[in-house]
């Protein structure tokens, strides 16, 4: 009986390991191909260990497009976006859970509805608004048009609802203002939820493509997703440029893989707890 169970578990492990390898195969293939020579690619593109490491592919990719600028642009805009999104989401979630005001239910319904709203519906008018503000083709335009994160509001509201009301009342009778209660009591008590929201929002913003691609079109102003696609298009699908394209793509993907490997357990946890629905 014990024996059977072991064999069963081994079989399951093997199946899942195969699936897992299949999942990360594109990433591995990308990394391997990025250091191959063109002739290597043509002779055997399946080979996982290149005959020689051609690091100059990366140099060539960096020469063809300002990837470091792209990465820096993505990093700072995403950081500001995430910080401000969480700041605002915390305040709204606090108001929704701790204040009684006219229209609270209505506001919550609107926020919940916005969560289901396909963002495409807003692109054309938002584009026009950014144009009027003179913020087209500007990274600040990208930042300010991304400051609302309905998902984070819902996630934080859910968490704030679980804060015992006596704790808040104790703070009130301890003389704390609502502002201090939010930042000194409620937010520290829910720091895990905030971290979850931050991770999810970070990955979403960093990888976002369609909206940035609509409003950004100068090379020095591009974020990584937009710059990468432009780079890939400019080299076309000629087989001989394949290793360089992979090197460029690797530059865009590696930061996320590194973050993922470091924060892996937080990621899994974040996304799981994010299953809360309105």
């Amino acid at each position: 009986m014990k024996h059977m169970e072991r064999i069963q578990r081994l079989v399951i492990f093997t199946i899942l390991l195969l699936c897992g390898v299949l999942m990360v195969y594109p990433m591995i293939w990308m990394l391997v191909s990025s250091v191959k020579s063109t002739s290597d690619v043509f002779s055997d593109s399946l080979r996982l260990i290149p005959t020689a490491f051609h690091w100059e592919n990366f140099a060539n990719a960096l020469a063809a497009a300002p990837f470091l600028t792209y990465l820096w642009n993505s990093t700072w805009t995403t950081t500001i976006i995430v910080v401000l999104q969480l700041l605002f989401a915390s305040m709204v979630a606090y108001a929704l859970t701790q204040f009684e005001f006219f229209g609270r239910r209505g506001l919550f319904a609107i926020i919940l509805g916005t969560y289901m709203l396909p963002s495409a519906t807003t692109y054309i008018p938002s584009y026009v608004i950014l144009g009027k503000l003179n913020l087209l083709n500007s990274l600040w335009g990208l930042v300010i048009s991304n400051l609302a994160n309905v998902f984070s509001i819902l996630l934080l509201r859910q968490a704030f609802l679980k804060v015992p009301k006596e704790v808040i009342e104790a703070a009130r009778s301890d003389g704390a203002s609502e502002w201090s209660i939010l930042w000194r009591i409620v937010v520290p008590m829910n720091r895990n939820t905030l971290l979850n929201a931050a991770l999810i929002s970070f990955v979403g913003s960093f990888n976002d493509y369609l909206w940035p691609s609509l409003i950004l079109n100068d090379k020095h102003n591009m974020v990584i997703s937009v710059g990468l696609n432009q780079f890939s298009n400019s080299l076309g699908s000629f087989e001989k440029s394949f290793p360089i394209v992979m090197a460029g793509t690797a530059l865009a993907v590696i930061p996320l893989i590194v973050v993922y490997v470091i924060l892996q357990r937080y990621f899994v946890h974040s996304v799981q707890t994010a299953s809360v629905k309105g």
């Binding site: 704790v167 009342e169 703070a171 301890d174 003389g175 203002s177 720091r191």
Partner: protein
């Protein structure tokens, strides 16, 4: 001098029924006042109104003779201890205790000193760097008290602070709290549904039931002369006997025997006699006799339950007499304490006495 006064207070929750209709009370400075009543009678609501955590729908709240209806909790300088401690889970014990001072802008050194003093008073010095999650129920309770104490406020409100503790710890904490109050001399309003806490700790007791104050007085007054049948049956374990008697030929009779009660208003055809179990004793030569049902042995003494006619009755006996079921026992009433109630209004008939 009254430090807290509520006048004609009305409280209605948004959709719910009215909790208080026309509530009046005053709390004397320096007193340890206990508000006692069954669950759901509005004790917490009353306390929260005093603390400023709940708005009233009508009436006035005076604190130290100032009208404070619209003063929010954080400006009232009232310290409150919550039913379930409400400690800040992400702060150490020291931070928890000092938070109120910090929010009121006290200097770091002052906070440190006061926290240290409170910790010593409450025997918490060893736990100052621990988090609430690592404390026992009794320790958490003491932290919650500490948080209130350091505030040096004139008024302390406590909402069933001992209800989550086990019986033994509760007994210890009762003594501790009484000592603390004597030491600090601060006005304390203490809410509980436990009458033992009320009887042992209070300078004054306020009995609350269904949003109405039933009686206010010292533990002694309330115990010996309950103002109505509710208080009579709520205070005391086992509760006061309430025996129905009706007029026959102008005399109130129980089990057919005349009782010699005087100064009863003439229009009163029935009344209820209130007798504590310790005010009834067994005797050989009484025409009033009960039938024994069960006997509760409490160690030092015993409670003998039974029926008198169709009415339940209980008396305390400190002798070691053995009673058995079905036995008939003659009863003698202590006629030094007179408690008679009007069955219609349930109020005590102040004039009526035993002859």
């Amino acid at each position: 001098m009254a430090i807290i006064e509520l006048k004609h207070v009305r409280k209605q929750y948004d959709k719910g029924e009215t909790i208080f209709n026309d509530l009046n009370l005053s709390i004397q400075e320096g007193d340890f006042t206990v508000i006692v009543g069954p669950s759901g009678c509005g004790k917490s609501t009353l306390l929260r109104i005093m603390a400023g955590l709940e708005q009233v729908s009508g009436g006035e709240i005076y604190i130290a003779d100032k009208l404070e209806n619209d003063v929010p909790a954080k400006k009232r300088n009232i310290a409150m201890v919550f039913q379930n401690y409400a400690l800040y889970p992400h702060m150490t014990v020291a931070k928890n205790i000092g938070f109120g001072l910090k929010m009121r802008g006290a200097k770091k050194a002052v906070i440190k000193e006061k926290v240290q003093n409170a910790a010593e008073m409450l025997d918490l010095t060893a736990y100052l760097d621990k988090y609430p999650a690592d404390l026992s129920g009794g320790q958490m309770q003491r932290v919650a008290l500490g948080r209130a104490i350091v505030r040096d406020s004139k008024i302390y409100l406590m909402d069933e602070p001992l209800s989550n503790l086990d019986a033994k710890l509760r007994a210890t904490m009762r003594v501790e709290l009484t000592k603390l109050h004597r030491q600090m001399q601060a006005t304390t309003v203490y809410v509980t549904h436990d009458q033992t806490e009320a009887m042992t700790m209070a300078d004054r007791i306020i009995v609350l039931y269904e949003g109405v104050i039933q009686q206010t007085g010292t533990a002694d007054e309330i115990y010996t002369h309950p103002a109505n049948t509710f208080v009579a049956s709520f205070i005391g374990i086992p509760p006061m006997n309430l025996l129905q008697a009706s007029r026959q030929d102008g005399e109130f009779c129980l089990a057919g025997q005349p009782l010699n009660i005087s100064k009863v208003p003439a229009d009163q055809t029935d009344l209820i006699i209130g007798l504590r179990p310790e005010d009834i004793s067994p005797t050989f030569d009484s025409p009033i006799a009960m039938t024994v049902d069960v006997v509760e042995n409490m160690g030092a003494d015993q409670y003998v339950h039974g029926t008198l006619g169709a009415q339940p009755i209980v008396f305390r006996d400190s002798s070691h007499t053995h009673y058995h079921q079905g036995q008939s026992v003659g009863l003698h009433f202590n006629r030094h304490i007179s408690n008679f109630y009007d069955p219609q209004t349930t109020q005590r008939l102040e004039e009526a006495t035993w002859q």
